[in-house]
């Protein structure tokens, strides 16, 4: 039987289409301007269709000495942060998922405590400085390596794995590490995928810790570079107040170059996100309801 299209359906489609357009417009605008000439941009900055197509902006920004280095830094930070973080989540969540573990409640409360209270910026800076990590990529990896929220998600997920599987393995003579890595980890792939995505996006987008801990341009992550490209000149203009002479003395990057930088920076996440976004939704639901 053919389903009747109701007025409500049309309204839903219309609203969703409008919301989609609102979301897509900035992206299309950035993409179109990034491959348009500067003159074309000046004639119509709000364009969503390129005009006078040129890839000069990409050529210029790709030859920027800081871009390649910051790209590499972000890749290194993301890979190492995600790998170490996931490993730590696994080895921490597994014992804490055992209800019979002595001291489990205290440990979990200590973890929850860090969700509510933390030392703050200054003590963290002292800590990182004492560890000799200032101006190293390690300062961008370790402070955000472990999230209490993610750990609780993983604990909850592991608690749902049937105890009988582990008992059967034990009867067959499996050791705890064997059970963890051969049975529990393969069964925990959905939560591992979700937390990997959370952590990867977090590392990819982070810039503030770099402002605080990094001194040399060689160690800038990609997002700090992007922020400088987009907002740097504006900040200097604010510093200059209304002084026209000093404002004109600044190195203002053409908009097409800024837009090309945005495209280059978001491209990797944009490419993988459609395939992984379901894990985001799943991640929030995982372990939240126990039945």
């Amino acid at each position: 039987m053919r389903k009747r299209i109701e007025l409500f359906d049309i309204a839903v489609y219309l609203i969703v289409s409008v919301i989609c357009m609102v979301m897509l417009y900035p992206l299309l605008n950035v993409a179109a301007v990034s491959i348009s000439s500067h003159t074309a941009y000046m004639q119509n900055p709000m364009r969503i269709w390129p005009s006078d197509i040129t890839f000069d902006a990409y050529k210029d920004i790709l030859s920027h000495p800081v871009l390649a280095r910051s790209y590499l830094n972000t890749i290194m930070i993301t890979i190492s942060g995600v790998a170490i973080g996931i490993f730590l989540y696994i080895i921490t969540a597994y014992p804490l998922s055992k209800v019979h573990l002595k001291g489990r409640a205290i440990m979990i409360n200590l973890v929850i405590f860090t969700m509510l209270f933390n030392g703050g910026l200054i003590p963290n800076f002292y800590l990182i400085r004492s560890l000799g990590m200032v101006d190293t990529l390690a300062a961008l990896v370790f402070p955000t390596l472990f999230s209490a929220f993610s750990l609780i998600l993983m604990i909850n997920f592991m608690q749902n794995i049937p105890e009988e599987l582990e008992e059967a393995a034990k009867i067959d003579g499996a050791s705890e590490p064997y059970i963890l890595f051969k049975i529990v980890v393969p069964l925990s792939m959905p939560i591992i995928a979700t937390l990997t995505l959370f952590a990867a996006v977090g590392y990819w987008n982070s810039f503030f810790s770099a402002i605080i801990y990094i001194r040399s341009v060689e160690n800038w992550p990609l997002m700090l570079f992007l922020r400088e490209v987009i907002e740097g000149a504006k900040m200097l203009q604010i510093s200059a107040g209304g002084n026209n002479a000093e404002i004109g003395n600044m190195n203002v990057m053409p908009e097409t170059l800024k837009y090309a930088t945005i495209m280059i920076v978001i491209l990797p996440i944009l490419s993988v996100y459609p395939f992984l976004q379901r894990y985001f939704v799943k991640g929030i639901m995982l372990g939240s309801v126990k039945g």
């Binding site: 003159t39 800076f125 190293t136 390690a138 402002i211 605080i212 001194r215 740097g232 002479a245």
Partner: protein
């Protein structure tokens, strides 16, 4: 096998972090290995001093000309200078962190003597007074404005807490689209000065008579922007005689700013005019949402025909405009006030930020000496013209400059000489062009009427209730300009302000100005 692979992967990641953690920390901004000294007499006898300068510049990397300049300063002053240049988007955070944690450079840049973190650092002894070190710093003394020193005496102890990064105090004129003027057969006098009525007439023609000839009504007379705090202010204050704090013509207070004067209509007239121009589409209707950069874009792309600007930017603006429209031409024009006088408001204290010596400085005298050297004839020549062999060559006893150096991030932004407006003129510029531009800059310097407040903020204006109330001024100003309120509503807010805060504010400001004026 999979377990081994997983452990191997994590191991590799740890190794990766370890390698990066122990990696080379050296940045190109550092000049750690200066050449042996052979600098100015007297300096070589002093032991070598290391110092770190933390500042906000357009690039965190030193350019080639920056490096050469720093090298020349190091040689002349027997120092090893390292730059710490945080990203400009995070300068404030880094500065505050440094002041709080004591992780300080020898000298740090602050945007203004009013900066709360600076004032706290002075109180805490993190920033030290430099009076005793200035005794031998003749160049700094000679090439700073007197009013800058007053601004840097912030602790009530009559001591100076910073080295000025001077700017040239001016009141700039306007850039006009000359090709539009030509199309509309409008002549500008040879002295580049027009009356305010002529200005209004030209702007109206630019917005109504299709100066770009595209057959569309898509141009505006004047391009303007919101303030950095997103508020908007009436336009053409110079021309309407609004020169900030001046001696009043009578009344309760000796000094008064028409903006706060219940008995003056000057400010409300300015609001009315801006509202009228806004309504008629003579000024860019997008102005309230734009910043300075966007205003320039609107001008270069042919949406607006007039913007205010610095005369020394002729080449930059012209080239950018011509890329979009080959017919783009520029004229620089001054507009007389309603009384026919060539006057313009000179604001501030001659500071474009300043350098503060910290308690961590190993040798504060040498820090001051470095800045003094930069302002000496030898140092200034390097700052202005660059370094021989890179920025220019000497042929037949004449300097032949290389192509316009664009990357003078540090070189041209460390110090300035008061009133030396030639600094803004590219040394490679042709004599003909110099003759064209210099008189305009000179005029912008000479026509200033200084506001007597010197950027002073009375204590009451820093209190939360005052700051809350201040939003009412922004609100009513915006409403009047965009036509949602009558200009009389400004006076109502002003009356309210006067009752709640005004008397204290005006008294404090008058006391301050009196004290400064009596010092003269």
């Amino acid at each position: 096998m999979k377990l081994k692979k997983a452990i191997a992967c994590v191991g590799a990641a740890v190794l990766l972090v370890a390698v990066t953690a122990c990696g080379d920390k050296g940045g190109p901004a550092e000049i750690d290995d200066p050449k042996p000294t052979s600098g100015a007499a007297g300096e070589t006898a002093k032991p070598k001093v290391n110092m770190t300068i933390m500042g906000e510049f357009a690039s965190s990397n030193l350019s080639e000309t920056d490096k050469l300049l720093v090298q020349s300063i190091e040689e002349a002053t027997n120092t090893a200078i390292k730059f710490d240049i945080p990203p400009s988007t995070g300068y404030t955070e880094r500065l505050q962190l440094s002041l709080t944690t004591g992780d300080l450079a020898d000298v740090v840049w602050f945007p203004s003597p009013d900066d709360a973190s600076f004032l706290k650092a002075v109180k805490d002894g993190v920033i030290i007074p430099i009076d005793e070190y200035l005794n031998e710093a003749d160049n700094i003394q000679n090439y700073s404005y007197d009013i800058s020193w007053d601004a840097l005496r912030v602790n009530g102890d009559d001591k100076v807490y910073g080295i000025p990064r001077t700017t040239v105090i001016r009141s700039d004129g306007y850039w006009f689209r000359k090709d539009w003027l030509d199309k509309l057969n409008i002549q500008i006098p040879d002295n580049n000065e027009i009356t305010f009525d002529q200005m209004l007439d030209i702007m109206t023609k630019f917005s109504k008579e299709d100066p770009d000839g595209n057959g569309k009504h898509d141009t505006y007379g004047y391009g303007w922007a919101a303030q950095p705090d997103k508020s908007i202010r009436p336009v053409f204050q110079n021309e309407l005689g609004l020169y900030g704090w001046q001696e009043s013509d009578g009344g309760e207070y000796k000094y008064m700013n028409p903006q706060y004067d219940l008995n003056s209509d000057k400010y409300t007239k300015a609001l009315e005019l801006t509202a009228k121009l806004f309504k008629e589409g003579v000024i860019d209707p997008d102005g309230p949402t734009l910043d300075g950069g966007k205003v320039l874009e609107q001008f270069q792309s042919g949406k607006t025909g007039v913007i205010d600007g610095f005369a020394g930017h002729y080449e930059t603006f012209l080239n950018a405009g011509k890329q979009i429209n080959p017919e783009f031409e520029l004229a620089y024009v001054f507009v007389k006030n309603e009384q026919g006088e060539m006057k313009g408001l000179g604001q501030g204290t001659g500071l474009w930020g300043f350098w503060a010596v910290t308690s961590s400085a190993s040798d504060p005298q040498r820090v001051v000496d470095v800045f003094d050297y930069m302002l000496s004839d030898e140092g200034w020549d390097s700052i202005y013209t660059g370094i021989e062999g890179h920025d220019y060559k000497v042929e037949n006893n004449q300097r032949v400059y290389s192509a316009t150096p664009l990357e003078t991030f540090v070189r041209k932004n460390m110090v300035r000489r008061a009133n030396d407006f030639m600094f803004f003129i590219n040394p490679a510029m042709s004599e003909e062009l110099k003759q064209k531009l210099v008189p305009n800059i000179e005029k912008a310097v000479k026509r200033i009427v200084m506001s007597k407040d010197r950027n002073y903020t009375p204590a009451i204006a820093k209190t939360p209730p005052y700051l809350d109330f201040n939003k009412k001024f922004s609100e009513v100003t915006t409403k009047i300009i965009i036509g949602d309120a009558q200009s009389s509503e400004y006076k109502e807010v002003l009356q309210d302000w006067n009752t709640k805060f005004g008397q204290t504010y005006l008294k404090e400001m008058n006391d301050y100005i009196d004290q400064i004026e009596n010092k003269k």
